[in-house]
């Protein structure tokens, strides 16, 4: 008997490929949102685990990318909120010293720190759309569904965010170089 989608064998092969293609994009997206690589990997794994479960129980979703990114988007939002809430407690407990912030943790990776700083300067909605497009490789229509806007608005946001990012990156880089020189 030839394997087909319903038999599960082919579905698992597809799932493997989809998961491998999604993982780096999910991590990159979550890193852009949270600024923490560990949290980003957790978020990506959460989203992929949910996709795997859904795929095995009820078959592949209509758009696996949109499915996984919708979960990653929610998780990233929660992670950012959780960090904002627990940051004062962490400082009290002295945990903040063990878990350095983005700038300190990636001191040796200046480009990442610069990119994250430039991303943080963007308005939240613009940053969200840009990350979903740039590192998530999602279609405009999928981004529009995820961000509750129209594809035209998404295009506009992304275009604006790209221009701002391009303008702010070299500026910051120059400032840093002149400062450290």
């Amino acid at each position: 008997m030839l394997p087909n989608r319903a038999s599960g064998f082919l579905a698992d092969v597809d799932l493997d490929e989809v998961a491998r293609s999604l993982a780096p994009r999910l991590i990159a997206y979550a890193l852009g949102r949270t600024g923490c690589r560990g949290t980003a990997e957790d978020i990506a794994q959460d989203a992929l685990t949910a996709l795997v479960r859904r795929w095995r129980q009820a078959g592949p979703p209509e758009s696996p990318d949109a499915f996984a990114f919708a979960i990653a988007k929610r998780r990233a939002g929660r992670a950012v909120l959780r960090r904002a809430l627990t940051a004062p407690l962490d400082v009290l407990r002295g945990v903040a010293r063990d878990e350095p912030g983005v700038d300190r943790a990636y001191e040796d990776r200046a480009d990442l720190a610069m990119v994250l700083t430039a991303l943080r300067r963007l308005p939240r909605a613009d940053r969200e759309a840009l990350l979903l497009r740039l590192v998530g490789d999602l279609a405009f229509a999928d981004i529009a569904v995820l961000t509750n806007t129209s594809p035209a608005a998404v295009k506009m946001r992304i275009s604006r965010a790209r221009r701002r990012l391009a303008a702010s990156l070299p500026e910051y880089f120059h400032g840093r170089r002149t400062h450290t020189a």
């Binding site: 852009g32 685990t49 990119v115």
Partner: protein, 119 residues
């Protein structure tokens, strides 16, 4: 033209900075396919200390609020005394002020008048 090139270079730079290494991505995929929960997430859950601190703070706030309400109720006696005298109600304040509330006085029935004109 240059503008578009700059934008593309920025895109590449952002992607390069954010994209993880292959090993990290593979590890995430393997764990997800195995159905594992992220290990760091378990470790990063709020520790007992934090929960205890939060619970303690909540208890203190609740007790304080309860005590404050009790004290407020005890220290605020009725500042107005209302007494009724027939159809008149008299309201007396602690500081001595008094208000008398009653029906409007009845109008007197009209009398007879005699007009005397001197001739």
């Amino acid at each position: 033209m240059d503008d578009e090139r700059t934008l593309r270079e920025t895109d590449v730079r952002v992607r390069a900075a954010l994209m993880p290494d292959e090993a990290a991505a593979r590890q995430v995929v393997d764990r997800a396919l195995a159905g594992d929960r992220p290990p760091r997430q378990r470790a990063r859950q709020l520790p007992r200390f934090t929960w205890a601190l939060t619970a303690l703070a909540l208890i203190i706030v609740s007790i304080s609020a309860w005590q404050w309400r009790r004290a407020a109720a005890a220290t605020s006696p009725a500042s107005l005394a209302v007494t009724g005298r027939g159809s008149i109600v008299v309201v007396e304040h602690q500081d001595g002020r008094r208000w008398v509330v009653g029906p409007p006085p009845e109008r007197r029935a009209g009398g007879n008048y005699v007009i005397v004109v001197q001739k």
